[in-house]
């Protein structure tokens, strides 16, 4: 297997064995239309100018690469650097992708925008860009997530979008995706579906990765500037995997940089109660792509468990499955408890309250930093800020407002 490969996906949308287009026939045309539009636009100078202009003026990019002085001292080994995606407008990396996709929607003349959301960050980021263009916007969200992310639900509504709570199945992110796909099948002629992660049928994993790759591209320059070498490792949390993929992709051919994805270990990978398909799943088809999947012994998709709504998903983007099998990236998992501990520590050490998703990446530093000496530079992708998680964490800590 050749892992020195940035030419994927192939023409059928596969990254090695993973990916593809597994959707009802009604959507095949929409996927082809999207792919041909994207191919036409992605290297078009005007399109690129508009994308980077929006990222700069509306999102506030580039996001800083920030030296985490107290965390570095705490571990006493290598230097820890934080890629501050939490400072983006709307508070997470999700906006990078929606800025790009809304330009595609506009170019295709679509009048109606739909999206799924787990933690609500992608819902907020989608509602934001839709509002900016005055487009009708519908966000699908599992009813369990509507409960635990009520702050983001209200933000989405403030931005003029409608939130549809989804009760079917496990009432979380995967069910929101099912419902968004059903909406798309029904309204395919005038509707653009902004998928929020590097999941779903081809060409979405490629498109979402490309728009999010601005993160990794900035990291290459910032690393040269700040420590005059490439980082020894980049650590990012992985649910569907968009923040990790955006950070990893430009580094695929930079072999001195270890790429480490951290999945949601829930109650512990050994208990089976988690959301870590790359650690404890097998290949299967969900939401249009073949990838590692949590499934039971009859081929049904298993329920997941994670304190973090944004990681609570039984599947993962197909390119991550490919990076895992080819050995180019490493995938580990940390438990809810470890993530919660990191959530508090990072808040106190650095004055940054990270998203619970991001806290998983931080939690892995306990293990990882032992592997490095003082000269090493480690980057943590701070995928989002934790304001949205205050209610969840307060409840766990037994605090009532």
């Amino acid at each position: 297997m050749n892992s020195n490969n940035k030419t994927l996906p192939d023409k059928n949308g596969f990254f090695g064995d993973y990916g593809g287009k597994f959707v009802p026939e009604t959507l095949m045309y929409a996927l082809e239309e999207l792919e041909s539009t994207y191919k036409k636009l992605k290297d078009n100078p005007e399109f690129k100018d508009q994308f980077y202009k929006d990222l700069s003026e509306f999102v506030g990019r580039p996001s800083p690469l920030y030296f985490a002085e107290r965390l570095t001292k705490h571990y006493g080994t290598g230097s820890i650097w934080l890629k501050r995606e939490d400072l983006n407008h709307t508070g997470a990396h999700k906006i990078n992708n929606t800025i790009g996709q809304i330009l595609l929607a506009k170019h295709m003349g679509k009048k109606r925008i739909i999206a799924e959301t787990g933690a609500g960050q992608h819902g907020v980021a989608t509602a934001t860009v839709a509002a900016r263009l005055g487009l009708e916007c519908h966000i699908y969200m599992g009813s369990e997530d509507v409960q635990r992310q009520s702050l983001n639900v209200y933000r989405i509504k403030l931005l003029g979008a409608q939130v549809h709570a989804v009760d079917s199945g496990s009432a979380t992110l995967k069910d929101a995706l099912n419902e968004a796909l059903r909406d798309w099948v029904t309204n395919v002629d005038d509707t653009y579906y902004i998928i929020g992660s590097v999941t779903g049928p081809h060409p979405y994993p490629m498109i979402v990765r490309d728009f999010n790759s601005v993160v990794g591209e900035e990291l290459i320059n910032q690393s040269k500037e700040l420590f005059n070498s490439m980082p020894n490792a980049i650590v990012a949390c992985v649910g569907g995997g968009s923040n990790a993929m955006g950070a990893f992709y430009p580094f695929i051919n930079i072999k001195e940089t270890r790429l480490i994805g951290v999945e949601a270990g829930g109650e512990g990978v050994e208990t089976g109660e988690h959301a870590a398909p790359l650690n404890d799943g097998t290949p299967g088809v969900l939401h249009g792509a073949l990838s590692y999947l949590m499934q039971d012994d009859t081929g049904q998709v298993k329920g997941t468990k994670s304190v973090s709504a944004g990681l609570d998903y039984p599947g993962v983007g197909p390119e991550h499955s490919w990076l895992k099998d080819s050995g180019r990236a490493e995938y580990v998992a940390v438990s809810d408890n470890a993530a919660l501990k990191a959530f508090h520590e990072v808040s106190e050490f650095e004055g940054i309250i990270p998203a619970l998703e991001t806290a998983h990446a931080f939690a892995y530093l306990d293990t990882l930093m032992k592997e490095f000496d003082k000269k090493a530079n480690i980057i943590v992708n701070v995928s989002g800020r934790g304001d949205k998680d205050i209610n969840t964490v307060a409840e766990i800590d037994g605090i009532k407002f």
């Binding site: 009604t26 095949m28 069910d175 939401h287």
Partner: protein, 261 residues
């Protein structure tokens, strides 16, 4: 010649339209499903489509989704469905049986499908693969299982030909943009598209998704080789499953069969 091919060609020879009826295996339980399959046959159903329950059935509307959930609560797997079909085949070796479901389940049970004991199953319809492809493309080799491919109102004309040619059971024309059980039928569009498909297909073209009444059934059978009814039956199964009195379903199917002849 397998049962499906034979049944459809006999109907065609007699200038009759096919009635395909759908239910979800194990909804409300396996013994009821067998009972319902027998009832379907008695009521004039030509082909039975057995829904294979899946946790994430993205092409289904709320009625069939709920049926999948009910079946999964009974721990229905493809293995138990093959056993159920074996039971049914003990007294019926004529009615064609089609499994309809999602790729993940079929990949998972590759061996079981390849063995297809006693040729119990005649065809497999995979909802979530491109119409040009069939199970062989996913490493499942079973020579006695026909391919049924879906074509929808959004399928571009250049693909209609290759999908129609890929179908060896029948071409399943999805009559609307939407999930199963939706209600936005456009008869003109359906009639034009079915005509286009028929230019390329060597097997019959049947219409399904969104047929809710005897009138819909009549209308669509006029412009196709037959019709597929799902959600409205599944709804009735849900309503009668407590009393297990399924007579109403039999009457409904008999009425439809009369209307489409």
């Amino acid at each position: 010649m397998n049962r499906l091919t034979k049944t459809l060609s006999d109907l065609k020879d007699n200038n009759k339209k096919a009635l395909v009826a759908y239910l979800v295996a194990g909804d409300p339980d396996i013994s009821s499903t067998i009972e319902l399959m027998n009832l379907f046959v008695e009521s004039g159903v030509d082909v039975i489509e057995i829904g294979v329950p899946f946790t994430d059935p993205i092409a289904e509307g709320p009625i069939i989704q709920k049926a999948h959930d009910r079946a999964l609560k009974n721990n229905i797997s493809l293995e138990s469905i093959f056993n159920m079909v074996g039971e049914f085949r003990k007294h019926n070796n004529e009615t064609p049986l089609v499994l309809m479901g999602y790729l993940n389940t079929f990949i998972f049970y590759k061996k079981l499908i390849e063995e297809n004991h006693n040729n119990a199953i005649d065809s497999i319809l995979v909802v979530d693969i491109p119409g040009e492809l069939n199970l062989k493309d996913y490493g499942i080799n079973s020579s006695n299982i026909n391919t049924i491919s879906l074509i929808s109102p959004t399928t571009k004309i250049n693909r209609i030909e290759s999908i129609a040619k890929n179908s060896t059971g029948f071409v399943y024309y999805v009559t609307l943009r939407g999930v199963t059980g939706a209600s936005n039928l456009d008869v003109n569009e359906i009639s034009n598209n079915v005509e286009e498909i028929k230019k390329h297909a060597s097997v019959p073209t049947l219409a399904g998704f969104g047929i809710k009444s005897v009138e819909d059934a009549k209308l669509l059978s006029d412009c196709s080789d037959g019709i597929i009814i799902g959600s409205s039956i599944v709804q009735m199964i849900e309503e009668s499953s407590k009393s297990k009195e399924f007579d109403r379903i039999g009457n409904y199917l008999t009425e439809i069969k009369k209307a489409i002849l």
